[in-house]
Structures are given as structure tokens and as C-alpha cells.
Amino acid sequence: MSRARGFLIGVVLLLLRRRGPRPLRPGERERIVPPAPENAGAELLAISLLLASTACAIAFVAVYVLDRLPRQTQLLGLSLGLAFVFLAAALVVTAKRLVVTEELEDDYPEPEHPGEQETVARIVEESGLTRRKLLMVALGAAGGAIGVALITPAASLGPFLRVSRFYRTPWRRGRRLVNENGAPYRAAEIEQGTFYTAFPEGADREDLGSPLVLVRLPRGELDLPPENAGFDADGIVAFSKICTHAGCAIALYRAPLFRPNDPKPALVCPCHYSTFDPASGGTVIYGPAGRKLPMLPIAVGSDGVLRAKGNFDGPVGPSWWGVRMKGPTP
């Protein structure tokens, strides 16, 4: 007990002892850094803040070890965050009250060193290498060529000269339209006023050319242009689900309940709100898309299942330099 008391007395005495500038004793040298300000209160504050920080850091480890606490992430963040808050506060107190903030003067470095610049230039010139013009040119050529050679394997990153893949989709004549579970869509189950997502049977779903959005329009409303004549199957129309602006899935169908008052049917992309009119073959009626939505010609098979009659009327996905140069293959 007396040991602890003695320790406490020692700490108190340590904190209360006089500090501050005292006259130089003989043989002592001049100070570089002026003496620190006298501030016992601030030192105590800083020490308490550091103790608080220590406690929070220990709390973090404790929370971590105690598994499956409710709101564990919040407790972890709070404890570690507070540990840093107290540390920051202690350092701010130190900066503002415990260390001397000197305002010193210094010279900026020389703007330039003309003597050295001259010497460097002369060393290079006097070597004689710069005068051998042909040698320099040849060195440059070799260096440049080796540089290009070293970069060339970057071309292996991808098939950057083969653009044929941008025209390919998995759709073929006769391919069945299936839903997410792989079951074929029958024409009879496609109702008006709603939309369906379809894929080519057996193909990779993630291929941009795969997903379709299917809607059924009343026959009277269909107004397909000549190049899309016959693309519908009994009023059911199929479009690429991938927006021609920036490649998002067109996951919105605006389906008016009461035509006289409500906006007309439209396929809308949720990224930048490109809006496509299914009745006119996917033309752009609002938004930044520069190209109409590719339409897939479909037909009802004798078994009632919807099948593709061919490929889209244009390449799918966002535009690129060759997107209007040919149609999709095969």
C-alpha cells in the first residue's frame, strides 16, 4: 500500500515541479529550440486523452474477441474510431500547448544554378557523343523500336482487330425462346400490359445478344416500318433487352392501364432513361440513345412455342464505329 502511495506522491511531485527558463550555467550552450511553454494543465489533459485512447483501443480488441455481438461492426468502428479521436485530440493539445511553435525564417532555395547547368551541359557536349549525329539518330531509332517491341505484347490482351464478334448473337432461325428457368414461351401465355424476359434456348445468358424483352401489343396499335414487316408473332414483338446507348438492361416497361389518359406503352432503360417505342419497331422517343432498339423476328411454331425467324435487324448493344456497317450474323 505504501509503495502505491509513494508512487502516486512521486507522480504528483513530478507534475508539480517547477519548469521554465533558468539562467545558463557556466559551460552550458545556447539553445536551438526555445524552451517549451509551462503548462501542467495541458500535459494532464494530453495524458488523460492518451489514456482514453488506450482504453478505446483495448475495447476494440475486446469487442473483436467477443463474437457475434449485436451491431458488432458499429461497436468495432466506434471503439477504434474513438481511439483515434482521443489520440488526435492529445496530439492537437500537444501541438497547441505543449510544444513551442517557432516561426522561423529561412531562405528559399536558389531559383536555378546557372554554373552547374553550364557544367552539366559542357560535360555532355565535350563527350563528343552529341556531335556524332548519325550515331545519335541510330541510337534513337533502336531505342524507339525496342520500346515499341516491348509494348507490343499488350496486343495479346484481346482480339482487338477482330470485330466480327460484335456482330454475332446466339439467335438462329428456329431457336426457341425460353424463360429464366429454361421453359419455352408459348405464344398463348404472353398477355398484354406486361413484359417478359426471354433467352435463346441453350445459349449463354450473359452474352449481350441473348436477352430479349417480349411484349404483346393490340394489333391495331402495331405500326411496324417496312423493314420490320412480319417481325411480330400475332402482335407479340421481341427486342434486344440491352440498351443501344450504354449497355444497361432495359428492365422497365411503361404499360398504361387506361390508354386515353396514360402515357403510351414504352420500353425504358433505367440508366439514362432512353425510351423506345415497341409499336414502331423500337424507335427512340426520348433520351440519349442514338440507335433504335434491335428487333428480333419471331413466329409461333406449330406447337405454339415462340421461335426466332432469324437474327436481329441490327447489331445489339452500344454503338461503335462499325455498328451500322453490316447486320448481325449469322
Binding site: 528559399y108 460484335f166 450504354a246
Partner: protein, 454 residues
């Protein structure tokens, strides 16, 4: 004991003179000089938390069916990449804390760089001899934008997957070479081959961090070699004389305190405020989408650009010269980037800046031309940025989206011009007020002196 340590270091490396210079290097004491440090410390937190994340992330796009503890996604097909981030967030102790801290640090890092850039720009700190430092900084800003984009796209969730598709479309939209470049980067048309995610991963955790470290090192070295600039607050400060606080003991606790404060803010956010809850978005598939998808804030200016453009592709016959996403997604940031790079040179060409060598900073009002141009650019970018959120404004406040778009299309021309005029006049007026104030005080002083002589 300190003497023993210093002696050990100096005899083994000869660095005592360097240590001495470093300890007494002078820092200007204005608070705005600390903004760059905020970015630096956010970067430190990014690297620290990032290393942890790399030890759990799987960069594979092979498909797997989820059977983990998070019920709403049980039985769903997803990639290993998404599953590894989901597991880290739900199943790894402190995993969610580290992940969220990392993501908040990225957002704050770029915000700090932007604030730092604004200070550099509006005070003329980029002028000779500091153009190199400035160019390194601008490069780091744009590299960081890419780094952040790649980082949050690694999770392969619905939101970031949509963002990757849009990035692909912007690449495709580059005239002449777009499709070829996109194919090169993605190893084929979108969504690319199984090599794409590992590629993104390596660029995000190795290539760009190394690049940033090198650029940052050069940036800091140049700052130290040429010394900081300063505001002229006292008469003894000049183009030749620097007044400031030495590294030790004055500046060190300040800088360390700032480091602790940055870490504090980031860990508090990382634990208390949810960010990018990928378990809510679900895994990405090319045929799925959600409304209200947005990129992280530092790319929001681009979505505004993409949404504001009217719908047209520029074609010459059958050749599509400029697909639509190019304007908002590629040209717009390119213009800003080129403006930032060229500005020191442009300022000289305009005659607002001689061939002078500057260590002193100007207050914005002392350079009305620069301030006007800066405000114009800032207003332009901010207006496009705000336009990108017009759909949420419609949902929340019932202001029709289509009308907002038209208003913004006009504002992005009128706004910057107005901002430039207002900024310019304000600078002139403030300067005039100061000058007349100073003349008045001078006249009073002379009158008093004359009276006392009489």
C-alpha cells in the same frame, strides 16, 4: 539514448545532415496547406485496409450457388468474386468494418484531392517553378478516379456491374478505335472473358498503387526541394524569405494529429455509416437492372454528361463516327483534364502571368482573371454533376425530370458565364475596397504625423 540512435544511423548511412535539414524544414502555417496531407493520410488508410481486403477477395467470375448465412441470397447463382465480398461482409470478423473504411477512405481521398486542387488553383501555387508538381498532382487525381471505379467494380454487384457496362460503352464510343480498345481491355465483347476480372484486380491492387506511390513520391520530393509556397502575411516574408513552422517540434504533432483525425473519421464512418451494401443489390447479370443506379460521387459528373446529351450518333454514311456516350462520358472529362494541364501555359499566353518565378501565393481576389475562369469551370462541372441526380429529385420532390433536363441544358451554358462575371466583379470590387481602405488609413496616418510636427 537519442544520441546513441542518431549516431548509429549516421555512421551507417551518413544521413545526419539530411535529418537535421528535415527536422528544421519550414512549413507555412495556413490551414489550407494541410488539405494535401488529408489526401495523403487517406491514401495511407486505403493501402492499409486494402491489403487486408486482398487477402479475402477472389477475382474469379466462375459461377457458384450461394449457400451461406445471408438468407435473401440463398440459392442464388453468383460469381466467386461477388460471393467473396458477400462473405467478407457477413462472415468475417471486422471484415465489414475494414471494407467500409476502405470505401469511405476512397471517397474522402478524392474529395481531399479536389479541395487541395482548388486551393492550388485559386492561389496560383501551380505557377513556375511548380508546374511539374502540379502536373503530377492532376495526373494523380485522374488516376485515382480510375482506381476508385475499378475498386468498387471488383465486387461484381448489380450496381457496379451496370457501371462497368456503361464504362464499356464509353470505351466503344471513342471514334475510330473504340471497339478495338474495348475488345482489347475486356478480351472480347462485354462482359468479356474470364480474364477480365483478374485484370481489373491486378491493376487495382498492384499497377495503380505502384504508379500512385511513384507519382506521390515525386510530387512530395518536388515540394520539399522547392519548398512550400506561402501567403504574404508579414513584411519579412518575400519571394526569397520563407517564414514557417519547423517540422520538429512544431509541425510534427500537427501532422500526426491530422493523421489520427483522418483515421478517426474514416474508422468512425466505416463502422457507423453503411456504404455500398452489395448484399442488398444482389449479383450482377447483363439482363438485370435497377432504377436509381449511380456511380460513386467522383464519377457523378459523367452520368450527368451522359444524361444531358440529346439522342444522336454522328454518322457518315454507314460509318458511325461519334456514338452518343462519347460526348458526356469521354470528351467532357477530357476537356477538363486538358484544361487543368494546359492552364499554367494558358495563363501565360493570355498575358495574365509573366515569366516570373513565384514563391508567394495570391489571394483569389488578387487574380481576377484566374478566379473567374476557375469559377466558370467549377460551375460547369458542378451543374453537370447535379443534373445527374435529376431523377431522384423527381421521385422525391415531384419536379418533372424531362423539364429539369431542359433547364440544365440551358444552365450549363449560362451558369459558367454568369459565375465568371460575378467572380470577376467581386474580385475587382474587393480589391478596390481594400485599396481605398489602405489609402484612407495612409492619409489619416500622414495627417496625424503632420499635426504632431506642427
Amino acid at each position: 539514448m537519442i544520441r546513441r540512435l542518431v549516431r548509429f544511423l549516421d555512421t551507417r548511412s551518413g544521413t545526419a545532415p539530411l535529418l537535421r535539414k528535415t527536422l528544421r524544414y519550414l512549413f507555412p502555417d495556413h490551414w489550407s496547406f494541410l488539405l494535401g496531407e488529408v489526401a495523403l493520410y487517406a491514401f495511407v488508410v486505403l493501402v492499409g485496409t486494402g491489403v487486408f481486403l486482398t487477402l479475402f477477395y477472389e477475382d474469379s467470375t466462375a459461377k457458384v450457388v450461394y449457400h451461406g448465412p445471408y438468407e435473401p441470397l440463398r440459392g442464388r447463382e453468383m460469381t466467386h468474386a461477388y460471393r467473396s465480398v458477400l462473405d467478407l461482409s457477413t462472415n468475417v470478423k471486422a471484415g465489414l468494418l475494414i471494407r467500409q473504411t476502405h470505401h469511405w477512405a476512397a471517397n474522402v481521398f478524392i474529395a481531399a484531392i479536389v479541395l487541395h486542387l482548388l486551393r492550388i488553383f485559386f492561389t496560383g501555387a501551380y505557377r513556375k517553378p511548380r508546374e511539374l508538381t502540379y502536373w503530377l498532382g492532376v495526373t494523380m487525381l485522374f488516376v485515382s478516379l480510375l482506381e476508385g471505379y475499378l475498386g468498387y467494380s471488383l465486387a461484381d454487384d448489380l450496381l457496379s456491374g451496370m457501371g462497368l457496362a456503361i464504362g464499356y460503352s464509353v470505351a466503344m464510343s471513342i471514334p475510330f478505335v473504340g471497339a478495338n480498345l474495348a475488345e482489347l481491355l475486356w478480351d472480347g465483347p462485354f462482359p468479356g472473358s474470364h480474364a477480365f476480372f483478374p485484370r481489373m484486380y491486378i491493376v487495382h491492387v498492384l499497377v495503380i498503387p505502384l504508379l500512385l506511390a511513384v507519382l506521390l513520391g515525386a510530387h512530395l520530393a518536388l515540394v520539399a526541394l522547392k519548398h512550400h509556397t506561402q501567403f504574404r502575411r508579414e513584411r519579412r516574408q518575400s519571394e526569397r524569405k520563407l517564414v514557417g513552422v519547423p517540422t520538429f517540434p512544431g509541425q510534427a504533432p500537427r501532422s500526426l494529429g491530422l493523421l489520427a483525425a483522418v483515421a478517426a473519421v474514416l474508422f468512425l464512418l466505416g463502422g457507423l455509416v453503411q456504404i455500398n451494401p452489395i448484399w442488398l443489390w444482389g449479383p450482377y447479370h447483363t439482363y438485370l437492372a435497377t432504377n436509381g443506379a449511380q456511380p460513386d460521387w467522383y464519377l457523378g459528373w459523367l452520368i450527368g454528361g451522359l444524361r444531358l446529351m440529346p439522342g444522336f450518333d454522328v454518322t457518315i454514311g454507314g460509318y458511325t463516327l461519334v456514338p452518343n456516350p462519347f460526348w458526356g462520358g469521354a470528351l467532357f472529362p477530357l476537356v477538363v483534364l486538358v484544361f487543368l494541364y494546359l492552364w499554367p501555359w494558358l495563363e501565360r499566353k493570355l498575358g495574365w502571368e509573366g515569366d516570373g518565378y513565384h514563391n508567394l501565393l495570391q489571394r483569389p481576389r488578387d487574380a481576377p482573371g484566374r478566379t473567374a475562369v476557375g469559377w466558370a469551370m467549377l460551375t460547369w462541372v458542378t451543374l453537370v454533376f447535379v443534373a445527374g441526380g435529376a431523377d431522384r429529385v423527381d421521385v422525391m420532390f415531384d419536379v418533372p425530370y424531362t423539364e429539369q433536363i431542359w433547364i440544365f441544358r440551358v444552365l450549363v451554358f449560362v451558369g459558367p458565364a454568369l459565375a465568371a462575371i460575378v467572380a470577376y466583379r467581386s474580385c475587382i470590387e474587393l480589391g478596390r475596397a481594400e485599396r481605398s481602405d489602405r489609402e484612407r488609413r495612409q492619409a489619416e496616418h500622414e495627417a496625424r504625423a503632420a499635426r504632431s510636427r506642427a
